[in-house]
Symmetry: C2
Subunit: 217 residues, 2 copies
DNA sequence: ATATTTGGCGTACAAGTGTACGCTAAAAAG
DNA sequence: CTTTTTAGCGTACACTTGTACGCCAAATAT
């Protein structure tokens, strides 16, 4: 067992632990499991319909070895949601950079988001589906990820003079609409996607100008 | 086998068919199956996680008898969605009557909808969850039910001077927000439900006044 | 050098699944 | 009355699932 001998050696110790053959290998098959799970998600296969054995099979380990990494499928699910949430947040940071160098905030954000759902449909599906899933822990985890968006946007609006309540109401509505558009585009033909995005922009503009009218005169 | 002897006897014939002992009994167990399925839906059990055998057990029939009524679980699912959609549409007709005799359209609609989700959480869950489910046919069926709402509301707005595009964008956004609020309230404490409804009203007002500002001057 | 920890495997089991097949009794048709 | 139709049942089968248990070999600790 590894243990920390001296506090000042902390970083070194961690480094050693990370590089140890065992930990490295363990991390690798952990990733295999995660990737196997993500890989099996599709329009016809939700996380709830994955089985431990299927995942293990694709990860090239024995079913029972799964337990060396996750307590059960729920724990794997939480991990997946964390990862997907992170990916989504990174994306929105990218959007922020994009529109800070000019262009419409709304258009840029919608486009960025729609690009994401188009390129990572299964990740988006996971979040969207488990939001109304049958496992409380997963629902909560997804809600938390979405909350990140709402709060971030809400802060942005608050800085621009809206009250906290109004900022939150606007943000929540906007996020709901963007997610709705994303979901809609999943089953849509690629020709219709542009239309969906355009409509989402219109809808966000309604909210923005409606809120402005009511709260900033 | 029943058959129609003369065209003019059509209605009578149908009446006879409906009252025949067999058809009556068949209809009864069909309802048992449907009710059994609805009964098993809960926060922890989605339609996708129901099994044919479980449903049959609760409906008090042998597993194989299920096939006398539905080709498979998917067909049962479609039936459930039809029923739930119908219930929801009836509800909104009630809302219409309510606000035609005075009161805010938005507040009345939101309140009616939130009442519904509170009193029939499982019906709402079914629609909401299968909207992003793994069965294309079910997703489509739910989308169609939601479309009813959007189109109805859209017509209402079109009559009031908005262009077709603007009406549709507004309606879609409003429905998305109301559904979002409904979903949010499912896991919320009953104390928070009022707040959620109030926020939804605010959000709908933003859309309404934003659209008005941009399209009606 | 010796002892311990641990990631991974194979076996085994009980429980559940969908559904094919053939039978029966009662209702409907002739 | 006789024949046909059919809702429902019981049996049976081939799968799949989660997971308990014990073993092994290699990495790590002592």
């Amino acid at each position: 067992m590894c243990e920390f001998v001296v506090i000042s050696d902390c970083k070194l110790e961690i480094l050693i632990v990370m590089c140890s053959v065992r930990t490295q290998q363990k991390e690798r098959t952990r990733r295999n499991i995660i990737n196997a799970a993500l890989n099996q998600l599709s329009a016809d296969k939700s996380f709830a319909s994955l089985s431990l054995r299927e995942v293990a099979r694709e990860a090239q380990i024995a079913p029972t070895s799964f337990y060396r990494h996750f307590k059960d499928m729920e724990e794997l699910g939480l991990t997946l949601i964390d990862e997907c949430g992170l990916a989504l947040r990174q994306l929105m940071r990218k959007a922020r950079k994009r529109f800070e160098q000019g262009g419409s905030v709304i258009v840029t954000s919608v486009d960025t988001f729609m690009e994401f759902t188009e390129q990572n449909p299964n990740i988006f599906r996971l979040l969207f589906h488990e939001r109304s899933g049958t496992t409380f822990a997963l629902r909560t985890a997804v809600a938390r990820e979405i909350q990140f968006f709402i709060v971030e946007l809400s802060d942005y609006l608050h800085e621009r003079g809206f009250s906290r309540d109004s900022s939150y109401a606007q943000s929540e509505a906007m996020v709901a609409i963007v997610f709705n558009a994303g979901a809609e585009s999943l089953d849509a033909l690629s020709q219709q996607r542009g239309l969906i995005a355009k409509r989402a922009v219109t809808q966000l503009r309604y909210i923005a100008s409606g809120a402005k009218l009511q709260h900033l005169g």
